[in-house]
């Protein structure tokens, strides 16, 4: 037992040590509570800690070929800690500082700035927002050179607060379709709103401590990291959007209309290539205010474009032939107590069904529909609904206008409902819903929903992909379809839209001119539209043009809307080589080829190279922007210095980098093509005059 007692002794020694340590812990508690207690309790009151959100970077919106439509760039707000600078420093420089502030921000006089700074200093405030203006990186660099501020954050008291701002490389192009965000970067309208969940990401959260007037993060390991937003790839074609928008704008100004919409859709894929909505503001200018093509305010009585559906019902459900005749009389016909009129004074007399459709005779279609469906109107309504018109499309953008087609079971159904529905009244459709019907005719009878977002991506990885939903595989028989297409072509060849005939490719479509229903009655205001597709032989695009309340004497769909359609179709036909060809080769993605590194932002480029194991080294001292040079088997970074006031050299950069550099240099950027920058319209190193424009070509 000698061994055991020896061990026991040692255990007791160890136990004693632990007891001693326990005593020390108790003493420390006593010390912290009794002796230092006041100090810690006071500190607890003074330190302000708060959990603040850490903004997630919002995702980008891309066009169909990867051009940036919306992205977030950093901007800065300028604030000041007036308690920081010494008396001497402030006294010597306050005049020149306030002069610079006033001259740069133009929101206050130098005197006012002086008063605010001194007052805040007297009140021992540690934070003063100097201006609400959001400045870019280049301006920030300039301000850092100012007197007082150049002493830095601690001695000079300058505080820059970073704010991410939404930037649209194509300016107002497709503004309402792309949408916008509020000051917290939350989508308010358009795609920014509809895809806010995907774009927004998830803000993180971290503990911040208030120090000298600003919140500094406490890196305590508990922060929840922000999850950056995803990108969305739209189907918008920037060039086509531009064509559509300018054609619409010209027509609206010409006719002094209230608003107008254009939607261009690719027939086979259902992809929206352009969507423009322009409304007149009180000053008489047009801007993108509301998406009439999609939204509920755009759901109105479509007028004669709906005759396509009526014709389809007649051809499909009855044995009516295009060569049959119909008596339209003298242009006035009474259904019960309501008089229906045709546009042509004196009427069209007895005409064939084909002529009736081409000349858009209201009386003709109404008489035919009443003749065949008058006893069983629900059959007509059911046909239209089963065909696929009258149900919401479930479009990807929020706030789709609900379509409405009156049915015999409705309390407001009357004897005149059927004849009026037959030519596009007593029902409501948005331009997009009408277009979907025309697209189905162009698409060999297959009705699909339009889509505007192709995929949600995280960098190059597709997170979610969208495909058009098939609403109706076959809206009608082959014969009916052939007849309908003949009719739609006839409208342009001989009918109401013959004013846009004469192109060397064929357009097919239907005009519409609906009287507007305002405050419970029909007034002499019109809703002019043209919906159709082209080239008629092998339809590639379908399109609808809507112009609301045109004034200057011309009011008809043929005069007002059809020319816009033609202008867009002409431009696309001349630009888009694909229209001539039946098939488009699949886009080959060369993912295995490593992109050539030519120029860009050093920290990012070297990180990429390091990740891929490409040997690289710096040949420039401390330069952020670099170009590359091959040195043996490795890449050497040479300086590509961005000098103030001079045009930077962006050749070889990605669009994102080039935009950042050029915008910061105060240049307005116009973009052509995609890929990396191939050439720039202003030579690098020349002087920049404020607000001048530069064109860059990507390739």
């Amino acid at each position: 037992m000698n061994i055991k007692s020896s061990i026991l002794l040692r255990v007791r020694v160890a136990f004693l040590l632990v007891v001693l340590f326990a005593g020390a812990v108790v003493y420390r508690i006593f010390y912290l509570q009794r002796i230092q207690g006041d100090k810690w309790n006071k500190m607890a009151e003074q330190i302000s800690l708060r959990y603040l959100p850490v903004k997630a970077t919002r995702g980008n919106i891309y066009s169909d070929n990867g051009s940036l439509l919306a992205t977030s760039l950093p901007f800065f707000k300028v604030a000041f800690d007036p308690s920081q600078p010494s008396d001497e420093l402030l006294k010597k420089n306050l005049d020149s500082l306030t002069y610079l502030l006033s001259r740069t921000f133009k929101d206050n006089s130098a005197k006012e700035y002086r008063r605010r700074i001194l007052e805040a200093r007297k009140d021992k405030r540690q934070y003063l927002l100097l201006s609400r203006a959001e400045i870019n990186y280049q301006q920030k660099k300039k301000i850092m050179e100012w007197p007082v501020f150049r002493e830095g954050r601690n001695k000079g008291g300058i505080i820059f607060e970073k704010v991410e701002k939404r930037y649209h490389p194509f300016s107002t192009l497709g503004y309402r379709t792309i949408g916008s965000v509020d000051e917290t970067e939350k989508g308010t309208v358009g795609l920014e709103y509809s895809f806010n969940n995907q774009l927004g990401g998830i803000d993180g959260k971290a503990l911040f401590q208030k120090m000298a007037g600003s919140w500094r993060p406490v890196f305590d390991g508990t922060e929840v990291k922000a999850k950056d937003g995803l990108d969305i790839e739209t189907t918008i074609d920037v060039n086509l959007q531009d064509v559509a928008e300018s054609a619409l704008l010209a027509a609206l100004s010409d006719h002094n209309a209230d608003y107008g919409s254009v939607v261009l859709m690719e027939v086979k894929t259902g992809e929206i290539k352009a969507m423009s909505n322009l409304s007149k503001n009180p000053e008489g200018n047009y801007w993108e205010r509301y998406n009439y093509a999609v939204g509920s305010q755009g759901a109105v009585e479509p007028g004669s474009t709906f005759k396509l559906a009526s014709m389809m019902a007649l051809l499909e459900e009855t044995d009516l032939k295009l060569t049959d005749t119909v008596q339209t009389g003298n242009g006035e016909y009474k259904f019960y107590n309501q008089v229906m009129k045709d546009h042509k004074p004196g009427g069209y007399g007895t005409i064939t069904v084909k002529q009736m459709f081409e000349s858009s005779s209201n009386i003709g279609i109404a008489k035919l529909v009443v003749e065949h469906f008058g006893k069983k109107p629900s059959e007509f309504i059911d046909f239209v609904k089963e065909m696929g018109v009258g149900q919401p499309l479930g479009f990807q953008m929020a706030g789709e206008g609900k379509p409405y087609i009156k049915s015999p079971s409705d309390s407001s159904w009357s004897g005149i409902s059927l004849p009026w529905i037959s030519h596009g009244y007593e029902l409501k459709l948005t331009p997009l819903q009408t277009l979907t019907m025309f697209n189905a005719v162009a698409n060999d009878g297959k009705m699909i929903t339009p889509i505007i977002v192709r995929s949600v991506r995280k960098a190059d990885k597709v997170v979610e992909e969208f495909e058009p939903r098939v609403i109706n595989k076959r809206i009608c028989s082959k014969e009916t379809l052939a007849n309908l297409r003949e009719l739609l072509e006839g409208v342009v060849e001989r009918g109401t839209a013959s004013n846009i005939n004469g192109t060397h490719y064929k357009i097919a479509g239907k005009t519409g001119t609906a009287k507007k229903y305002v405050n419970g009655k029909y007034v002499n205001q019109y809703y002019a539209s043209f919906a159709g597709y082209f080239p008629a032989d092998a339809p590639k695009y379908s399109c609808i043009v809507v112009i609301d309340n045109p004034k200057n004497y011309r009011i008809y769909g043929s005069d007002v809307a059809a020319p816009v359609f033609k202008e867009i179709a002409d431009k696309i036909y001349s630009q888009d080589i694909d229209v001539h060809k039946e098939y488009r080769p699949a886009v080959a993605y060369q993912t295995e080829v490593f992109p050539v590194v030519r120029a860009g932002f050093l920290p990012e480029l070297s990180m990429i190279c390091n990740e891929f194991g490409v040997s690289n080294h710096e040949m420039a001292d401390d330069e952020e922007w670099v170009k590359t040079r091959l040195v043996g088997k490795s890449i050497g970074w040479t300086a590509n210095k961005v000098k103030e006031g001079l045009v930077p050299d962006v050749a070889g950069m990605t669009l994102r980098d080039a935009l950042f550099v050029l915008e910061n240099a105060g240049l307005k950027v116009r973009i052509e093509g995609d890929g990396r920058v191939e050439s720039q319209s202003r030579m690098a190193g020349t002087r920049v005059s404020e607000g001048s424009e530069i064109k860059i070509k990507l390739g």
Binding site: I3, K4, S6, I7, L8, R10, V11, R12, A14, F15, V18, V19, F21, A22, A24, V25, V26, R28, I29, F30, L32, Q33, Q36, G37, K39, W40, N41, M43, A44, L49, Y51, K205, L207, Q209, V218, D220, G221, T222, V224
Partner: protein, 388 residues
């Protein structure tokens, strides 16, 4: 009836059982209070999520105690060797591919149940049991003791070295505990001094090669520094918690500092205990651990075999030392470490390993009682005795 059930099922030292139950109840109370912020940050405000998770783990660790105390402690000698061999590749895999948290990879995720698991917990337990076993076999002469040094040193070096790469404070604790074990196991002090030197050297190597060098240096520097402003945020918040607790504390669930103190449910749970239960609560917890250690010593004294005695001493010292280091950090007696408070902190699988530790101590305590009449002979008889 309950009493009968306890007597039939909970064998071994009843006081150890009582202490463990007391700490478990405290644990659930404090962890529930301290995980509020975490619940808002990670679980969308579902505060019951962590309560449920922790309660389940606490119950599971009680089950682990129960299971471990049913097994004859002599089996642990063999089991621990196996566990030690398994833990080496596990530690390596963890270092290279494990889940990262705070820039240190310490966790492996067990595939099917999707539970994070720290291989260092397994390695730690296996190492202590192995050392107790090696030492107990070589008590007859100093020559034998010297022989025992090599395997101990080897295992201790490998395990501590691997753990030090990603978790320096745990490695130091394990190394210190090994030293203490050897001291208790009558290894001469001159050898121990030599070992400490080797340990310090390899510690430095691990710091240079591993992931934690910067953290350790800055934490130790800020601890040694006199500059008040250099006081780390965690320490500052912890002191505020301790100071604001007073004698009786703010009351259960009334902590303010839990919102700001990082890991208030594990590394700094002692500060929250003092804040909510005051000096009285803090001292009570200390007394509970001291009592636990004392009962471990009683088990040691009552055990007939050197192995059982050393095993119980090793495990109780390891547990209590970790407890005091955790408490020491909270009140500012040492640099900041990431060690949980055993039996109290919320800590996933480490709670289960702590349970097994306690279970082994209890197994030693009951093993002797059962064995007393028939001593030396094989296991068969013992089982019959246990059933009777």
């Amino acid at each position: 009836m309950i009493k009968e059930w306890i007597e039939n099922n909970l064998k071994g030292d009843p006081i150890i059982w009582a202490i463990v139950l007391a700490l478990s109840v405290l644990s659930i109370l404090v962890v529930y209070s301290a995980t509020g912020t975490l619940a808002y940050a990670k679980m969308g405000g579902d505060t019951e999520y962590y309560l449920m998770k922790h309660s389940v783990l606490t119950i599971l660790s009680l089950v682990a105690i129960w299971g471990a105390h049913k097994i004859d402690y002599r089996y642990y000698s063999k089991l621990s060797k196996l566990a030690l061999w398994v833990s080496v590749p596990l530690l390596m895999i963890t270092y290279l591919f494990g889940n990262t948290m705070n820039e240190a990879s310490r966790w492996l995720t067990i595939p099917v149940i999707n539970q994070a698991f720290q291989p260092s917990d397994l390695a730690k337990l296996a190492l202590f049991v192995t050392i107790a076993s090696i030492l107990s076999k070589r008590q007859q002469s100093e020559e034998e003791l010297k022989e025992s040094l090599i395997p101990i040193l080897l295992w201790c070096g490998v395990i501590c070295g691997l753990i030090a790469m990603s978790n320096f404070s745990t490695a130091v604790l394990i190394f210190a505990t090994c030293m203490l074990l050897m001291f208790i196991g009558r290894v001469p002090v001159k050898y121990l001094a030599m070992l400490v030197m080797i340990g310090a050297l390899s510690g430095a190597v691990a710091l240079t090669l591993g992931q934690r060098g910067q953290t350790v240096i800055s934490r130790v520097q800020s601890f040694l520094s006199d500059d008040e402003s250099a006081l780390p945020f965690q320490a500052q918040q912890s002191y505020i918690a301790v100071a604001s607790g007073g004698i009786v504390g703010k009351g259960p669930g009334q902590s303010d500092q839990r919102n700001f103190l990082p890991h208030p449910y594990s590394d700094f749970i002692y500060a929250i205990i003092i804040e909510e239960y005051g000096m009285i609560g803090g001292v009570t917890v200390i007394l509970l651990y001291l009592a636990l250690l004392y009962r471990g010593m009683i088990v040691f004294m009552q055990s007939e075999r050197a192995y059982g005695g050393l095993l119980s001493a090793a495990l109780s010292f390891a547990l209590v030392m970790q407890a005091f280091i955790n408490m020491g950090v909270a009140v500012g007696l040492g640099p900041i470490t990431g060690l949980p408070l055993p039996l109290v902190s919320m800590g996933g699988t480490s709670q289960l390993f702590m349970g097994i530790s306690i279970g082994i101590i209890l197994s030693v305590s009951r093993g002797e009682l059962d064995e007393f009449p028939s001593d030396v002979k094989g296991n068969g008889k013992r089982k019959v005795a246990a059933m009777a």
